[in-house]
Amino acid sequence: MNEAGSRSTVPFWKDERKLGIIFQALLLFAVLATLAFLSYTAYKGMRARGLEFSFAFLFEESGFLISEGVTLANDGSGWIFRAFQPSDANWQVLLAGLINTLRVSLTGIVLTTILGVLIGVGRLSSNWLINRLSFAYVEFVRNTPLLVQMIFWYLAVFNKLPPLRQASEWYGFILSNKGMAVPWIATTPAWTQFSPYFYWGIYLWLGLWLLRWVWKPPRWLYWAVPLGSWVLGLIMVGQLPVTLSVPSKQGFRVEGGALLSPEFSSVLLALTIYTASYIAEIVRGAIQSLPKGQWEAASSLGLSYGQTLRLIILPQALRIIVPPLGNQYLNLTKNSSLAIAVGFPELFNVYGTLANQTGRSLEGVLIVMAVYLSISLSISAFINWYNARVALVGAAR
């Protein structure tokens, strides 16, 4: 072994640090080379089969119909949202699909949270019946595939509903083979006069929120401002700008309310019920994970059950719940893509038809994946932001 007074040169292939760099450079090269090779082979493969790769199809006329959907279109005086027409371009049909995806996902998220929390609490109930029913619900729903459940709701339930004539009405809800009609908010003629006050309330709130770096307003201002604007509007207009529209049967059609197609309803129902079973377990886990000591400390301080729940337990439970909950919302949004199996024209379904019509399956699926990825990243970013905001000060995470 050399006994040297000065540093001996270390051959670079045995140098600890250099070795790491060499490995990584090799890997990077290997990955890039593989990607290049794959892209080239794919390109050659497409050429051999007479296909080409281009995104120009997005601006061609679509020429097909989708059962429901709203898209962005220029009607000469500006861009508005209106029902989709076959003469619209392909990018507009994709947009309509995206809007449908968002429609069913957002509604699903709200409903599934409510249902999930109820069932989660039910799992902990001292009432044996509720407890066991919640357990059975979670076990059955979680161990069956979502796709099968969705198809079941569609084929086995909604498709078998009676025609409108014989459909039953129940407190404003009408279930028929045309879908589910629910009471909804409708605007009255007074809306046109009221709408400026409505929008200004929102703009002012937004302005306050954006300007909070510059000037920190007292908390009550945040809801006082929009509320004030709306109240002012009501006073100025003198009538209610919105009303509850209840659906009613008129011959072969449903008048009033909102009609949710069988496709939309079965997708919504399946997503809600399936995701709720996961949310129930998250809620149950969160509540059970809180140390008993919290309850004991609160009661020894004299707080009531309700106060303890509101001030001590739920805030802490919320912190635990939010990340996995956000993850479930993400799953729900991604799972909406299964709606292709029941014919609901959400983004993926629309892509399917589009690919059939134009043959642009590869370009299309890449676009669709990019869109889903953006949605997912946005939701993840929001979860991270919320997590950081409510994290316990000083807690090591």
């Binding site: 072994m1 270390v10 140098d15 600890e16 250099k18």
Partner: protein
């Protein structure tokens, strides 16, 4: 005699924190060196640089004639010759005691299974727990686990043994059995560097005691000398605080 460990002007930073300042230390073969000092003084970091669990930014460390630098071969060679016992034992929970001890000799020194097991049983005898050979670490007490850890390190037949606060995580009644094993090791002529708070052990077995504070070696000398007649004021105040 060439020292078996030579550290010259060793410096280490954790980011902006200077944790080892110009350490110069020579350890002779067969010497038992005990390092004491307040927490954060860098004593654990110091011994961890010897088997390169920690890197140094400046200075030079030579172990048994092997220069400790970025050369992978050197690092591997040094680690074969230096054994380490940790404060938290770090036994491998998914292996039996015997497997824990024979693993490294078999796959690093490439010994055949029979030889490794024979050596392992001898070592277990030496630390007095031969009957626990087929048990899993979770089934042993803390003192037993630490003795297994000592046997595991010894199985590689190292020339130097490092001890990083080996008894600090033990219940008081088990400290004695581990110290006994360490004393026996010292008497057999092993070169040992021990970071510990056990002054009785140091008095009995150490050839040299080093007091560190704030990354520097403040004082060193024979145990009687350092404990009864500390020269530096910091040594004095530290000893006063812990001997109560």
């Amino acid at each position: 005699m060439e020292p078996i460990i030579r550290m010259e002007n060793v410096n280490k930073w954790f980011g902006a924190l200077h944790v080892l300042k110009d350490i110069n230390l020579d350890v002779q073969k067969g010497e038992v060196v005990v390092i004491i000092g307040p927490s954060g003084s860098g004593k654990s970091t110091l011994i961890r640089t010897i088997n390169r669990l920690e890197e140094i930014q400046k200075g030079r460390i030579v172990v048994d004639g092997i220069e400790l630098n970025r050369d992978v071969r050197n690092i591997d060679a040094v680690r074969k010759e230096v054994g380490m016992v940790f404060q938290s034992f770090n036994l491998f929970p998914h292996m039996t005691v015997l497997e824990n001890i024979t693993l490294a000799p078999r796959i690093v020194r490439k010994w055949p299974r029979e030889k490794a097991e024979q050596i392992a049983m001898e070592l277990l005898e030496r630390v007095d727990i031969a009957d626990q050979a087929e048990k899993y670490p979770a089934q042993l007490s803390g003192g037993q686990q630490q003795r297994v850890a000592i046997a595991r390190a010894l199985a590689m037949q190292p020339k130097i043994m490092l001890f990083d606060e080996p008894t600090s995580a033990l219940d008081p009644e088990m400290v004695g059995e581990v110290l006994d094993a360490m004393k026996e090791l010292a008497k057999s002529g092993m070169t040992m560097l021990v970071v510990t708070h056990e002054m009785g052990f140091a008095r009995e077995v150490a050839d040299r005691v080093i007091f560190m504070d704030m990354g520097e070696i403040i004082e060193e000398g024979e145990p009687d000398q350092v404990f009864s007649n500390p020269q530096h004021e910091r040594t004095q105040s530290f000893l006063a605080r812990i001997i109560h």
